[in-house]
């Protein structure tokens, strides 16, 4: 388990702590703790369906009156979705009835949850029908449109999903999540250049998030060619600028820029393999990346991993090659 902690960042550490606490509380059900955990999960958007369906279900069935109104219903929705994610079908139905009796069948949100239940039950036609009826009433309901895309994706009908998502993005062109989804569709079709377009849109929407620069660089690397390797290096470096390694010692969690370092090493190596001349700054960067990778591995992981990393560096070395 400690290994896992090493590899992931602090958000996950926090949720791990919550989980540990909940599991250790044993028989006695600490509803405050569970509520806080669920709150944290809602905020950080981490997927922990098992945890939520197990403890959250108890929370909303036995302790609902202790939560305040608004949060209670949010929690019920969260628990329903988590239960569906875990393949549970009986409990969500009960909870859904509860919501129906409270808000009536006409509430859009309740209808949407109903459709989700249909989806998990594999009654896709019914689900689609519900979303269509919602869209007829509220033509700009973003969530319903997105769910339609998800249904097609679940069917494996990626072409249709891309089509619907394109139509959606015509309207909501600032939706970062949707652009990411579209890029993932295109990547699964191996059409990297189209995926790059989507990721550029993501970059414009979140210009300070280092993760998306790494994603963009990775896609560039996949496209191949010395030109693309070159710009991949640039984007990796920019992501390092945003998630700066200079403050590494002050962090209370393991660094999250390792993908960028690996990316730099691989891109420079591939560029070299292509026979493309390297700039001096790129050589320096390579040197720095190799050193830093070793330092981080020494600091945060075990010895056999260090050997692996050393081996990786040796095999991608461009300096001492004949």
């Amino acid at each position: 388990m400690s290994e896992m902690l090493m590899l992931t960042s602090s958000d996950s550490i926090e949720i791990y702590r919550y989980e540990e606490k909940i599991r250790n509380s044993g028989r006695s059900f600490n509803w405050v703790l569970v509520r806080d955990t669920l709150r944290f999960l809602r905020k950080s958007k981490i997927r922990k369906s098992n945890l939520v369906s197990k403890y959250g279900l108890k929370l909303v069935t036995q302790y609902l009156n202790k939560l305040d109104d608004q949060e209670g219903y949010d929690t019920i929705e969260q628990v329903i979705i988590a239960c569906l994610d875990c393949g549970d079908e009986t409990n969500p139905k009960k909870l859904l009835e509860q919501l129906k009796s409270k808000f009536g069948k006409d509430s859009v949100r309740v209808q949407r949850i109903q459709a989700l239940c249909y989806e998990s039950n594999n009654q896709l036609a019914e689900a689609l029908q519900i979303f269509e009826s919602i869209l007829k009433k509220y033509p700009s309901d973003a969530l319903s449109m997105k769910r339609q895309v998800a249904i097609f994706k679940g069917q494996g009908n990626l072409n249709k999903a891309i089509q619907v998502l394109n139509a959606y993005l015509q309207i909501y062109m600032c939706d970062l999540e949707a652009w990411l989804e579209l890029s993932s569709f295109h990547i699964s079709y191996l059409s990297y250049s189209t995926a790059l377009y989507c990721l550029e849109e993501v970059l414009l929407n979140a210009p300070i998030n280092f993760v998306f620069y790494i994603k963009y660089a990775e896609t560039l690397y996949c496209l191949g060619g010395s030109e693309n390797y070159n710009s991949a290096i640039q984007y990796y470096t920019h992501s390092l600028e945003l998630n700066s390694p200079t403050e590494m010692d002050k962090l209370d969690h393991p660094p999250t820029f390792l993908p960028a370092i690996y990316g730099i090493i691989m891109s420079i190596y591939s560029m070299c393999e292509e026979g493309h001349p390297l700039k001096e700054s790129q050589l320096k960067l390579m040197e720095w990346a190799q050193n830093n990778l070793l330092i981080i591995t020494k600091k945060y992981s075990s010895n056999d991993k260090l050997n692996l990393v050393k081996h990786f560096i040796d095999s991608t070395d461009i300096f001492n090659k004949d």
Binding site: S107, V108, T246, K284
Partner: protein, 315 residues
Amino acid sequence: MTESPIVLDVEIRNWVVIPILIVLFIVSALKLNISKIMQINSGKPQDVEKTMQMQTINRVRRLVSFYNRIPQRSFFIRKSYLCGTTGSKTNKGILSSIAPVQEDSNPMNMMFANSMFTDPSGITDMLKGNIMHLIPQVTMMSWVNHFFSGFVACKLPFFPLTIRFKTFLQRGIEMGSLDVSYVSSLSWYFLCWFGSEGINAILLGDNMVSPDAQFLQSTIESGPPTQQTPIHKIYASEKENIEMIRYDSIMTNIEDRFLDNIQKKTSFDFNQINKNTINNNNNINNIKPKPIKSNLSNSKQSKRISYQKPSSLIK
């Protein structure tokens, strides 16, 4: 200097000061409830077109501010999509897609054209909101003014205030010699009105946003805010903004910049590396004309081709 204090009648406290407080509280509670009813009934109309326009503007603004994050080619693709290609008649760009509405010389008519006819619900919403706030206020003020004017209602405790507060605290009483800490009934009404907002929010907090309304609100985006300037004008100005951009990328020389930063901020030993690279200088020369293994590059090439194929298929 010191005056003998004015003795205020107890009846004033019982029949003026406290009633005003209570009435204010009741009125604000009523106001909240009525506005809630109106909100639910109004059922915000949603307009896909409007949403799209707002999103387009948003996207263009992002492009204008962060264009240097994306490669030059991608920037020009977007530019030609938004502004059209110069000289071409077919591609005018979506920013010029909206024809300007017939402009009228009369500004009043223009305002109507923009707000009334394009979005009549906007005006009714505005009216409703105004009525909700105006009517109770006017009636309350006239009520207070009519019944309780002409005498001092209460005295502020603690310390004396400066003379500047006189107009604020003693509205309705024109008496120069009166100490500032005495408050007239109309001013008392204003004080309570301003002060009670926070308390009402706490006391009526549960009723303020009923969960059902919230349940609906949080799911459906409220329509775009009604706006005054016509959309094609915003489009035109944004188009100008894009055309003014002279592209430059923050990615140029990024490696040098990054390494400089590292050198400045950490104790990372670059001398050693420099030595290494100097030692490797001949290595650099080695690397440049590195013998390309023909089979390797071939396989790479073929790989690349196979990568690009599907994209052309999908298009």
